[in-house]
């Protein structure tokens, strides 16, 4: 259940990002999770419900998008995106890949009034 600590990170980051603004209510948080972050959306929703009450995020919508990984093909040297595991080079079909990104969990944007 590492989703709880990730959600804590999302809320801390959102709070810092909103600090310069007068916030009446937060409507929506959009998060994009790399496919190697092992993030389970249901558990992430649960973490949001557990951590948001009594904060400026209570009642907001949480949108979680899955993000493809990027890899560098070790056979042909080209970089590509992959939405499936294991990554497979679309140019030459090789599975030999150096993973470049995919573990990130991005707070993309915040909609607020």
């Amino acid at each position: 259940m590492h989703e709880l600590s990730l959600m804590q990170g999302v809320l801390d980051t959102a709070r810092k990002a909103l600090a310069p603004y007068p916030v009446e209510r937060v409507n929506q948080l959009t998060v994009s999770a790399g496919m190697l972050a092992n993030l389970l959306p249901d558990a992430f929703d649960y973490a949001f419900l557990a951590l948001s009450p009594g904060t400026m995020f209570e009642g907001a919508r949480l949108i979680v998008e899955k993000r493809p990984l990027t890899a560098c093909c070790q056979a042909c040297g080209r970089e590509y995106e992959s939405g499936a595991l294991p990554p497979c080079c679309p140019h030459c079909g090789s599975h030999e890949a150096e993973i470049l990104t995919g573990s990130e969990v991005l707070l993309v944007n915040i909609d607020f009034d």
Binding site: H2, D111, F112
Partner: protein
């Protein structure tokens, strides 16, 4: 209004991991992050490695939800060890490692092994600053685990298939497991071990590989 943030939540952990990694580089200490399910045999593997690599200066960081049982087992082998209890937390993070590093004399170490909390999912996304990630899978867990937990096995630098003495009691197809691992990550290094006292197998190959990498890192520092 919509505020674009585009900030990586993992950045805090990643920055801390980078500081750990720099320290390990400065000190020339090879660092290993050992990941596996509860009961895969992580601690017993370490017990056997400590015996097999008696000339290597090894310290261990043990991660568990509760108790210092694993640390006691490692201490009984004469290695420097500390226990992190996560109190329910499902993984170790880089800051937890950073906090306990002052307990060790890194100048007097060749190899630091971090035994992560028993879990095949959550530790994967958390870089600790390690050089190597070793994923341990016992055949008793079933042979389908690599393809069911692909992110974890893809993140590994090597996989240890453990408890091979139990193979005949399972319906695991070992060649199939090897093929799955090679499909997930071509060329992935695979070791095959038995760690039960008196029945040890395959440990010298793993020890030799770690020795070679530790010596190379010590030479570069």
């Amino acid at each position: 209004m919509k505020l674009d943030v585009n900030r990586d939540i993992m950045a805090i952990n990643n920055e801390c991991a980078a500081r750990n990694r720099q320290l390990f580089r400065d000190k020339g200490v090879l660092t290993l992050n050992l990941i596996g399910s509860p009961g895969a045999g992580k601690t017993m593997l370490l017990e056997r490695l400590l015996e097999t690599m008696a000339d290597c200066r090894i310290a261990v960081i043990e991660g568990d939800l509760a108790t210092a049982r694993d640390a006691s087992r490692i201490a009984a082998k004469g290695a420097r060890v500390t226990q992190i209890n996560t109190d329910g937390g499902c993984h170790l993070d880089a800051a937890m490692i950073q906090r306990v590093l002052p307990l060790f004399d890194l100048d007097a170490l060749d190899l630091l092994i971090i035994e992560n909390v028993g879990n095949l999912v959550c530790p994967t996304g958390f870089d600790l600053g390690e050089d190597l990630r070793l994923v341990l899978l016992s055949v008793a867990e079933g042979g389908d685990k690599p393809v069911k937990y692909p992110a974890t096995f893809i993140s590994a630098d090597a996989v240890v298939l453990n408890k091979l003495d139990l193979l005949e009691l399972t319906d695991v197809d070992l060649a199939g497991v090897r093929a799955d691992l090679n499909w997930l990550k071509p060329g992935l290094k695979i070791f095959e071990t038995v760690c039960r006292p008196g029945k040890e197998q395959g440990l010298s190959a793993l020890a030799a590989w770690l020795w070679e990498l530790a010596a190379a890192k010590r030479g570069r520092s």
